[in-house]
Symmetry: D3
Subunit: 229 residues, 6 copies
């Protein structure tokens, strides 16, 4: 059965926006190294970054009908997250759909398939993370579902989950733990800042993290290279 | 037998140039979703775009001798299209061959193999769409053929066919239908412009394209998400 | 047994720096088309270029402990070269380790695995060539070795070997032949410059390289394309 | 936090065993074309087939410690389903672990990583579906979790879900719907049997399924091939 | 426009059957190393071999409607050759369609996509060469074309062309040159038989083919390995 | 410069043959988890196994001339190990070369490229581990080198090194350590046998290896699954 769940709960906008200073790597660490989509999800242009609540789309291969249905379910600050039910590269999404989403305040698209019109999307500054870039068109014949749990690039995404994406990839934060992860990200960033300053000053991680003893215990040997012949 | 077909018919320059406003996705749609090369054909730098007549090269794996032969067959506005007879990544093409092609007015290269000197090619603004970037050199021992029909990245290319390439990939337009496809691209673009304006104004594709009834007929259900616990 | 070889011999800094004008393709040709890493080693941002002596790291999959050990073994002008003992994509390296390496004068990283914080690395101008970009974190549990011979992306790298990397990829020059290869690169470049000028002026490679006779001997046929119907 | 959930509910053995006549393709169709793992999950030998309740393992890359923990949680008729938290090919599993699982009545392994000792596993008739075959060993340093929901090869697997696997791949049936899907599989098989008989007798699907009118309506044209010249 | 070409010319049955003793490698060599499909086209079981005339199908991604149309166009000795218009892995074909084709005397299937029910197909001895094995189902919504020229796995296939397939892969022989290629295959086989006998008797290819002089001329050096220390 | 090293030292035949009972996984573990070739090296038929001294070939892409040169350098018990200087899939090797090698007592081929005539090779019981199966032919134009160190599938192979291959893949044992590794393999096998017996009897690895305390110390929690609703 194909359904559109309407009126899903989301992460509050001010929480999502508070993630702006924290990258995917930081958030992923802050929530215990979970939630990271596969590395084949790449941004179509460098320097993009987003944080927003997921509107999920389970979609048939090579058929983008449900994307038009999904637009209506989107609101300010949302991120569209799309996974086909069978792996494909078809170009489900281009400039027209982006114009429509942008008009509703959607901040970007995550799609485990193809995207096209990437030059125009770059000019519009509508960021997309996708599996591939491919101009191949789709049909509009078969239903899918909106705002059901999906698996996208190896991660479960529930509607309303928080999506963070940047040049490092895409990470999913469960809606209910968004605030906790935000605090953990802040804490991690603060700690890293202190470490970064010491490293820049030339101190070694070996000393800052106190690793020398543990390495020796595991049996690491230091050996002088033989003199050059 | 290895041949060089000389004096092939081409798409008139003014027709090729008239494709400038139309991207790969538009042209591919305008000719009925055909002619698109595989998504592994990527530009070596962003923002490049070309339209020109194909000079085709069927070339042995890891041997670029025939590229030197091909240069002489090229003229103003041509695009060199190269496919090896066995899949390989070797770097067939670099700055020197690009200088030679540029001197003859060739507008770019499509090669289902490797290319090198990509920094220099970027500075020269000589655009290349290739399967990979690889500095590995070739030998010059074995013949191939010039201006015979080839299969490049999954598409048949006849000598003189029109090649359009941009950030979305590469599409082949049969020489004889170039003018028809140009008109269809213009028509499609005009239509999209109107739609784009309406979408930007916040109208929904669901309404513009009149999809609601068909979706309901297929059985799409709208369900209110349960109140949050 | 896990060892750290200390005080390895290196290519003199002035020799490494003298490679600045020569790209990977040139150096690879100049040393007889050897030493090129596989094409999946790509720079995280365009336009980067480095030449320096290798500090090598053989590292367990998904465990970056030894990178902290490696930092201490690095000095001005070095390049860190890292290969896991089993293929993986984990993000071994990010901004903190880069800060630490930069503080010691290290000029870049070559890693046949994942890297993260790529936006920050781009801002710092710390160049990395890697197999993938992936935010997935590592553990610190298992030893590896530093400055032992490794295989990275299909090439043997000995500690102290010269590494050249640019937009075309990564090439390894044996430490002892660095000076010879430098001279050969200069010679090749000089020769190419002359050829480039002639090609830009419209001369054909067929004539410059005197290929016509050899092609005819191999049986290449020139055939006039049939008149268009 | 790393947990081992003990005493999970399972699909009753007699239900699981009743799936014996139905292949992956049938079950996947019978439950509405859902639940299919990615096509890279391949059996290590031909002709294997299993149906059983999942004991799930979320495991660190290149570290098989938790497999030893998992064995104790397995019982007669179970299937071990293993997904690493970061993609890797390491050989987590071989003959010794298989002996241990077989002693407990486990019917097979599904692992999105590597497996080794495949000749011995074939002789033991212990079936495995894996991403790759690779002899590379693992460490035993880092915890994971047992019987938590995991994503394996693109599908969510909950502990106790029913796993069906054969030469076509692997499909997941939610524990609670196992009985319903069993009935639907039986029904589908019965229907297919009738169709199969008619097709073998030479009737056409075009007629059996009554497709001719719909095809004509969509505009399909039949054209006589030109006489041979 | 979607068409079904009916009554296409084919290679005579007795010619096709005369190819039985010659493998793909032999035929491919005999016709000048052309016509070979990409190496990702693999048989679903070992030891299969076929030779027959192609009925070609250009098919939408993830939609197998046209396969039902194609069955009616097939006759004794035909090979169905199927290529989707966009790359996909969907399982277009299984036991039912095979039963239908077998009833018409079709000798096998070549498909650049997925196939399912492979255990049953093996029992039926209905050979298939495919890109992947995947149980994922298709829809029946969109038209394609039958008996038009297609590109399948990198090769142009015209309706009626001869297809030879075995454990080495798939090769296409143009319909009009089938007889010539048959003779060339026979000649090649006869010649190889003589060489094989001499090689088995211990003669060297270096001597049989008279390569020693050419190797020396190219500069090959024989050097005695240093005595072991 | 291209050389053929003659008269290389090898691992004594009786040592190589003594490896017969030990598989790739065992040998790889016994020598400290080193020497394993990449998982893309697969046997062309199941159940094959070999152990022998390497005759190495560094070979140009798509050119098999040097294989004919290599045959003469082979003797009873050798394994031919071939790596192209640039990645390719070409079918370098088939039945004729196998006949020639078999006549000299060569026990198999390891090639990081393509092989053909696999049905015939299976009938001859000439085992091959390769990157792919591909009928595409090669030329004979360019020299390579014999019995120089090569990198094959990620491992350094020196001439005379011991190669062990089975259904799990291929492992390289340095010539000088062959005897030590043989002893270590025997020891490992003996130890595993004892463990295997205990595991088959139903004892748990958790207890045999005494893991429970270490797991608890790392913080592993056992939690009873909630009663089913």
């Amino acid at each position: 059965m194909n359904v559109v769940m309407t009126g899903i709960p989301r992460v509050p906008l001010q929480i999502a926006r508070a993630f702006a200073p924290y990258g995917v790597a930081t958030v992923h660490e802050a929530q215990g190294r979970t939630g990271l989509m596969a590395s084949h999800m790449r941004p179509i242009y460098g320097g993009a970054k987003l944080a927003g609540s997921a509107v999920t789309v389970s979609i048939p291969p090579a058929d983008n009908w449900m994307l038009h249905v999904a637009v209506e379910q989107c609101q300010e600050g949302d991120v569209l997250v799309v996974a086909p039910t069978s792996p494909c590269e078809t170009g489900y999404f281009g400039e027209l759909l982006a114009s429509s989403l942008a008009a509703r305040g959607v901040v970007g698209l995550i799609i485990e398939a193809g995207v096209r019109d990437v030059a125009a999307l770059g000019e519009m500054k509508f960021p997309v993370w996708s599996k591939t870039i491919f101009a191949q068109g789709t049909v509009k014949e078969t239903l899918g579902s909106i705002n059901v749990p999906i698996v996208c690039a190896g991660q479960i995404v529930h509607p309303g989950d928080l999506i963070i994406a940047d040049d490092d990839g895409v990470v999913v934060v469960s809606r209910r733990s968004a605030e906790v992860v935000l605090k953990a990200s802040e804490a991690r960033e603060r700690k890293e800042e202190a470490t970064r300053a010491r490293l820049k000053a030339g101190e070694l991680g070996l000393d800052i993290y106190g690793m020398r003893e543990a390495l020796a215990k595991k049996g690491l040997q230091y050996v002088q290279a033989p003199a050059e012949d």
